[in-house]
Subunit: 432 residues, 2 copies
């Protein structure tokens, strides 16, 4: 699949909205009410949402979304992995569509905003266009991707991964949940095995609005993050082996303390990330001691290492620095070390014209904004490999997500939807 | 209870053995065979021993030990917590006895030597005296303390703790194992509820031979450790609290990574111990991350701290340095910290005359020896509070103990028993 945008006359790419749409605004209150209504399906006592992929609650959420789409006159289809597309015709209806959306499945203790904001902001864009009687050159497709969270069925971003050819359909359908039910069986049970031929295969552009799931916008006081790409990541499992021994009877100079080696690794990971700012990230998140007893010197530590950066070359440099640091740590000691790579995803660079459309949308709305790189995975990261794509971030309180306490203000929700509206109009073209 | 030694005529305290006992040697092969025979009760396929306190196997081990003692003409009694005493009369039979022994209970995956060596070396001393027709001034009591290991019923060193008044009898008997059986019920079930009035209450001296359970003697090439005391210890639980957050979307400068704080604590504990050598010990043995997920910045770390030293004042200094280090670590960060003391035992200084008797025994045998401080707890540490006491250490391979791989050579076993023999003769006095 290639960029449909690049096939177009350059003069059409960024299509300044005519006066009639420049002042167009979404109905923030309607969007907020819609978000709250969807969140009731799987709503938790602590204000979050538990609506995991391909469950009965997911089915109910899909039904509600489809009812809303059909009320707007959209043509609803779904594909073989259950991704839902809802089409609003364009003036040039055979042109590749501009696709907008995200996902509506949640984590077990998820919030109301992760994913749902992007899908319902897309719905609000369409409602606003319909209410204003505005036609676009290109058709617009709302999309809701299947199983972005990956908590019931691994991997995450399953629906967009299958769509983008990163995950084989048969592989995805064969994945099982904790009860041994396959994703294919679950998809069939909720009635969402669809037909790929009824769905779009080429996107002229893809835009996804999402809560940031991080603290940057809150920290800088910006309302809109113009997402220019996503960090690549490299993950490792590291095992450091020393010698377990009695903490009382073993003098300091005769110890082989695996925890001391692990401590130096934690410091190296952080030092390396700090030296590649602003985009470098280095995290040791999982850490297990053996035998993990208060009066035994740790004989072994198993820990995870997570490096991320926006540029492939820098990510490679970080890993090279890490391997040198490990050599030094082991070289200084009697410790043994084993390093196993466990994941490797390259950085994603979103499409300049899609990024520009988002930035222009933020400027048009008068919103404080900044460029930002997504540190987390999103459906847009897979879709960005096969179509021009970009994302719009809005702040979420304290950066908290995947948590019932997740929160975004109605004002920021409205702002994000307005930016999506104007970026979509810009890419889809306003036919007068 | 006061030292009976101090009541004696100084000229009697270190009683040079007459020529007839100076060349006396234990029968190393007999001792080794006895050790191996006891180890068959609860023997494990991997060559270790699982004979936990107050089990049916413990009963069988006790029966075998008593059979051996009675074959030597010893008078066997046991007290209310099941400590076994086996008495060899002295020429001055009303004098307080010299008591020698250790324990025969093991860890679940214990070895053949921990404890059993001390009890059977004591038996071998008595066998050797009997075979040589040697009388001592003072009576000699072999002792086998109940439940030194504490793995089925906490606390460890239960029998000696009750005897020394450090643990209340009722408290000890009320402790339950994992199945809810009390120590009192288990003691009754194996038939070892005895009578305190039949047992000694004052010891003129107490000697315990034991494997080192550490690597020092092996490292220095010494055969005998003249144990001058035991390290005191202070334990703490430390909780460091930061903020859990996504490892991809949270930039380095906005993190509150609890693991980074914990890392600095591990370093401080080791640095403080290193600065108080040779006796300082500092260990972080238990370490738990929350949520402990590879793509989440650690929000909390709970860790244990174990400080030990041979001198109370230095141990206090180490803790003061630790508290200052924690203040610095927290002061530099947004982390919260909570410190809870969980154990506090003062150092034990063994009795100079008992120590001298052990040293003299090592010299008499021509064994390479050195003074050593026990880093682990032993029955002698409790008994040292109520009677003159000392210990004899022999090397164990790689310092490994509480492990089926635990090993001591027949040569070192014999050497340790010979030192016990001559130190016992010295303290008990040889009547000619």
């Amino acid at each position: 699949m290639t960029s449909a945008l690049s096939d177009q006359d350059p003069s059409r790419r960024i299509n300044p909205a005519p006066h009639s749409t420049q002042s167009l605004d979404v109905d923030g209150e309607r969007l907020w009410q819609t978000l709250m209504e969807l969140a009731e399906i799987g709503g938790t006592p602590r204000g979050g949402c538990n609506r995991q992929a391909l469950t009965e609650l997911d089915r109910q959420g899909r039904e509600l979304l489809i009812r809303w789409c059909e009320a707007e006159g959209l043509e609803v289809r779904f594909d073989a992995i259950g991704n839902i597309f809802a089409r609003r015709a364009g003036r040039e209806d055979s042109a590749d569509p501009i696709v907008i959306g995200s996902h509506i499945d949640t984590q077990p203790t998820g919030g109301k905003y992760d994913g749902c904001f992007g899908v319902l902001a897309a719905l609000e864009v369409i409602r606003t266009l319909n209410a204003g009687g505005i036609e676009t050159e290109r058709p617009i497709e709302l999309v809701s991707w299947t199983n972005e969270e990956g908590c019931r069925f691994a991997p995450c971003m399953m629906g967009s991964g299958v769509f983008a050819g990163q995950v084989a359909l048969e592989d995805a359908l064969s994945r099982t949940d904790a009860d041994g039910v396959t994703a294919g069986e679950a998809l069939k049970a909720i009635g969402y095995v669809g037909d790929n031929t009824a769905c779009p295969t080429r996107f002229a552009g893809y835009l996804e609005a999402h809560i940031e799931q991080g603290p940057i916008l809150e920290d800088t006081g910006d309302t809109i993050g113009v997402v220019t790409g996503a960090l690549g990541l490299k993950w490792f499992d590291v095992t450091i082996t020393g010698m377990a021994a009695h903490s009382g009877s073993t003098p300091m100079h005769l110890r082989q303390d695996a925890l001391l080696g692990a401590t130096r690794i934690v410091e190296a990971v952080n030092r390396i990330a700090q030296s590649h700012q602003p985009d470098g990230r280095g995290t040791v998140g999982a850490f297990q001691l053996l035998p993990n007893s208060r009066n035994v010197i740790p004989g072994q530590v198993i820990l995870s290492v997570d490096f991320r950066h926006s540029e492939s070359e820098v990510l490679e440099t970080m890993v090279a620095e890490f391997r040198r640091a490990l050599d030094e740590i082991v070289g200084d000691s009697a410790l043994g070390i084993d390093v196993t790579p466990t994941a490797d995803y390259p950085p994603q660079h979103f499409h300049p014209e899609c990024i520009a459309a988002v930035r222009q949308g933020a400027l048009a709305g008068g919103y404080a904004h900044r460029d930002i790189v997504s540190g987390a995975g999103h459906d847009a990261v897979f879709i960005g490999d096969i179509a021009p794509a970009a994302m719009i971030f809005i702040p979420c309180e304290k950066g908290i997500s995947h948590n019932e306490a997740e929160y975004a203000t109605p004002e920021d929700i409205t702002a994000g939807a307005n930016v999506l509206l104007h970026a979509t109009l810009s890419l889809a073209g306003v036919g007068e």
